[in-house]
């Protein structure tokens, strides 16, 4: 078996992994990226639509363009990249970490490193996760898989299509299926509000006269060999109304029902997971409770914009660098979600430096107020023009904000 030594190993060569690797390599560290696919860029390559990069590059790019800007930077850096390689195991050994990667060529590699960054993104929730009853015919796909089949492999998954879930992935796929000549019969959403951006409702549904059934569920899948149709049931006050059920004929059902961080490896090494995000619990420097193991990007929590993934992951690379030179944070305190807040990341803060936070709200509101309190004393307040659960909120606390605190302790973030 080959053995290779690096300062840092980054798991995943998508938007997150590339940004983390580049930012650590910039500080002069020996960095390796291990990527499962045969190219860098991850999920961006199948996201052929535009709308990426508005924050980071100040221009509107497609997914592949965004990916390539970063893979070009990786290629011209000193970062080592292993493609077509899967990480099989990771363990603490001595002062560092040992990671085993497997590929056809060069086979098994043992990496001896001082830090590991988990940047291996999400998986899609599937039929099993939402428990749709009925038969088990072919023609049921998760939306991201269908996107991959259409945009990378060049297959058409079906001709008459119903989509479950109105998040951005479901909406983007409604337009994509329409543009490849399929007939999208409906998008079915369990919640009373659309989960995706309004601009995507307009561009991806209204432009094609695709009906959106809010407060509805798919109650049953019909068909023997192939999907023949679905039964759609309205909800009233959260309760199914079976007598109002109607059927839609279709040969394809796309499930856009959410993403979950791909945390099997992280769990294996004993990283504690956050119940709300499904990602690891991390400190103010994006390090898990296991020394030298960091997490960023969609593996940490699901982002809605890749620009934020890049920002967070670049920051993670700098934290890795600080860790490698032996810098350790001052005492840290918990950050807790308060009223109307679903989650906040990271799960700890430290008072002596700038802290950047990402969070999601539970409510839809215009002119909301974000308030940060430490032991009951408000240290930060921000007006937000428009908030909704599908849009991540970012804010940062500067060193001087913490000077207002006399008695440090748990921080609570709420929205009213």
């Amino acid at each position: 078996m080959n053995t290779a030594e690096f300062d840092t190993l980054v798991i995943g060569g998508g938007a997150s992994g590339m940004a983390a690797a580049l930012s650590a390599a910039e500080e002069g560290w020996k960095v390796v990226i291990v990527e499962r696919e045969e190219f860098l860029g991850g999920i961006l390559h199948q996201c052929i639509h535009n709308g990426f990069g508005l924050h980071y590059f100040k221009e509107e790019l497609t997914g592949p363009e965004y990916a390539e800007r970063f893979s070009d930077m990786v290629e011209s850096s000193k970062i080592t990249v292993y493609l077509n390689m899967t990480i099989m195991d990771i363990m603490k050994e001595g002062d560092g970490l040992t990671v085993y990667g497997l590929s056809m060529d060069p086979g098994m590699v043992r990496f001896k490193v001082r830090a590991v960054v988990f940047a291996n993104g999400c998986r899609e929730r599937n039929r099993g996760n939402i428990g749709i009853p009925g038969t088990r015919p072919s023609g049921v796909f998760t939306a991201g898989l269908a996107q991959r089949l259409v945009n990378l492999e060049g297959f058409v998954p079906g001709k008459e299509c119903v989509i479950v879930g109105s998040g951005d992935i479901g909406l983007i796929m409604a337009r994509r299926m329409s543009w490849i000549g399929a007939n999208v019969k409906a998008v079915v959403e369990i919640q009373p509000n659309p989960a995706g951006l309004t601009r995507n409702i307009v561009q991806c549904l209204n432009d094609f006269d695709i009906p959106l059934y809010l407060s509805h569920v798919v109650g049953k899948i019909k068909g023997k060999e192939r999907v023949e149709g679905v039964e759609v049931i309205p909800l009233e006050n959260g309760i199914q109304q079976p007598e109002k059920m109607f059927s839609l004929e279709c040969d394809t059902l796309l499930l856009a029902v959410g993403l979950v961080p791909d945390n099997e490896l992280a769990r294996k090494i004993g990283v504690e997971l956050n119940q709300e995000t499904g990602g690891p619990v991390v400190d103010s420097r994006l390090m898990t409770a296991i020394e030298g193991v960091f997490a960023c990007g969609n593996l940490l929590h699901v982002h809605d914009l890749v620009d934020f993934v890049t920002e967070e992951s670049s920051r993670c690379g700098k934290f890795v660098s600080e860790f490698l030179i032996g810098k350790r944070p001052e005492k840290q305190y918990r950050t807790n979600p308060g009223k109307n807040v679903k989650y906040i990341v990271p799960n700890y803060y430290e008072g002596a430096r700038e802290n950047v936070f990402y969070m999601r709200t539970l409510i839809v509101k215009n002119n909301a107020i974000l308030s940060v309190k430490v032991k009951g004393t408000e240290i930060y307040r921000k007006k937000l023009r428009h908030i909704q659960p599908s849009e991540m909120i970012q804010f940062s606390l500067k060193e001087e904000d913490f000077k207002l605190i006399k008695d440090k302790g748990v921080m609570e973030v709420s929205i009213e």
């Binding site: 535009n50 509107e60 363009e65 945009n151 309004t198 601009r199 432009d207 428009h386």
Partner: protein, 118 residues
């Protein structure tokens, strides 16, 4: 005459109303910024969208090449554009930003959004 619209210039999603004052003068209300006014006017005069698709690719590496229109395209020209794109076959190498289809009469240019070396 009037028409209700939802602005797509940014995530706020303002509800706009376009009112025809006469043949050519249109008043936009409900917008919270100048971009909303611009969007509303264009949306009722000549609505446009950026079109992204894939085209067949001869390559040892990738079967479909992702492409994008250089600028937003009038909505009524999108169907014809897609039909053209689905007849095209390209061969690697292709570089990002390269023009893969030029419909000069319609002012539509389609660019590769990925580099495929072989």
């Amino acid at each position: 005459m009037k028409k209700d619209l939802i602005c797509i210039a940014c995530p706020l999603g303002c509800r706009l109303t376009a009112r025809w004052l006469n043949e050519s003068a249109i008043e936009i209300t409900g917008n919270r910024c100048p971009r909303g006014e611009e969007y509303g006017r264009e949306e009722v005069v000549e609505p446009k969208r950026v079109v992204t698709a894939t085209v067949r690719l001869k390559s040892g590496f990738l079967k479909r090449l992702p492409v994008t229109t250089k600028r937003p395209v009038p909505k009524d020209k999108i169907a014809a554009l897609l039909n053209r794109l689905y007849t095209i076959e390209l061969s690697a190498p292709v570089i990002r930003g390269e023009v893969v289809l030029d419909m000069a009469d319609d002012g539509v240019q389609v660019l590769s959004s990925r580099t495929v070396k072989k």
